[in-house]
Amino acid sequence: MNSKARAALILIAIAAPLAAQVSVSGKVTDDTGAGIPDLKVTLTNQSTQVEKEIRTTPEGVYTIQAEPGTYALAIEKPGRGVFAIRDVQLAAGQNQTVNFGMSAQSDNRNFRYMFYGFVAAWLVLVIYVISMVSRENTLKRQVENLKQMLESEKR
């Protein structure tokens, strides 16, 4: 084998895995639609648990190269924990785009409604317990009244 053919084979051996790689990219935006820079983005292979980490650019854009597979994508949001999305399918020859909108306004609304949900759940149970106790007291009073009536009838 001449040196040119050998070089070509080495090049193919190096380039083949790279060619099989696909990318997941997107933009993380705020309320105004502007990109949020320097957020930690983590792509985790769900079967091997291998992680790749990157930070968003000053424009809020991220791009991560990975082998085809099923991934979990997480974006760390300072002060509000991690935004995680599972089952991102990366198929050979198909680049994925996953954008994140981190609206402070929608955060507040979501948080408010979550609070309403919790309060409503407890309120229903508290109302039920109050009604149960008051009904029991009414029944006990009725029993006492009937007992007294029967006692007086006997006399």
Binding site: A84, D87, E136
Partner: protein, 229 residues
């Protein structure tokens, strides 16, 4: 003894609920697509699971009552149904609040929600029936039949997300077939812990409600006595 067991269950339930609230509100992150509102799921789903279980238990007690004609079983069925109905209301209210954010509407007439609404109507009919019939054996017999009828609808509610294309999310829990297991394990685990807490709370409520049934049976007996006099 029964009171002591009830207090013990109460303490364990209280501790579990505090622990679960801590995990749900402070430890778990927001969900990527739903943000903070996903946490409602941790009450919505456990309330639904426990209420369905309660309706099933009521069905079993109703069948035993029809076979043995002992009013104790009817009292147990009535208690389980009433507590499960309260939890079904919790499911409905929390689901509606979640839908307002995710779907933009409080209610949609999709198969899951419609069948659930019918289920609530049937069981509210059950509770009303028990109020209007004074004669215990007739009350027990008719409400047992209604309990059997009501549970057939629970099966439709349970399977509706697999049988029809619904706006309501499909199965997400890892125990469900037909697309289950898509949920983040930590988030699913939080929901299961709340199933345990709400389950214990239900046991406590049913025991409290049974006391009421005992008093009611005593009242029925006294009324019969008063009539004979």
């Amino acid at each position: 003894m029964r009171e002591k067991i009830l207090y013990a269950i109460g303490i364990v339930t209280g501790a579990l609920l505090v622990r679960n609230l801590y995990v749900i509100l402070l430890q778990l992150p927001d969900e990527a697509k739903q943000d903070a509102i996903w946490r409602i799921f941790c009450f919505h789903l456990p309330a639904a699971i426990v209420s369905f279980t309660g309706f099933f238990v009521a069905l079993v007690f109703s069948l035993i009552y029809l076979a043995k004609r002992n009013l104790k079983w009817d009292a147990l069925a009535a208690s389980a149904t009433e507590v499960s109905f309260a939890l079904a209301i919790v499911t409905l209210v929390t689901g509606s609040i979640w839908a307002r954010i995710i779907w933009g509407v409080w209610w949609a007439w999709d198969p899951r929600l419609t069948s659930y609404f019918i289920c609530l109507l049937i069981y509210s009919g059950y509770l009303m029936l028990r109020r209007v019939i004074d004669e215990p054996t007739t009350r027990g017999r008719l409400s047992s039949v209604l309990s059997i009828f009501g549970f057939t609808n629970i099966v439709i509610v349970w399977k509706s997300i697999e049988w029809w294309a619904t706006l309501h999310p499909g199965p997400v829990l890892s125990i469900r077939s037909g697309g289950g297991g898509r949920m983040n394990p930590a988030m699913e685990s939080a929901a299961w812990w709340n199933v345990l807490a709400i389950g214990l709370l239900t046991v406590m409520f049913v025991a409290m409600r049974m006391r009421q049934e005992d008093t009611r049976r005593e009242l029925d007996a006294l009324r019969r006595l008063a009539h004979t006099i």
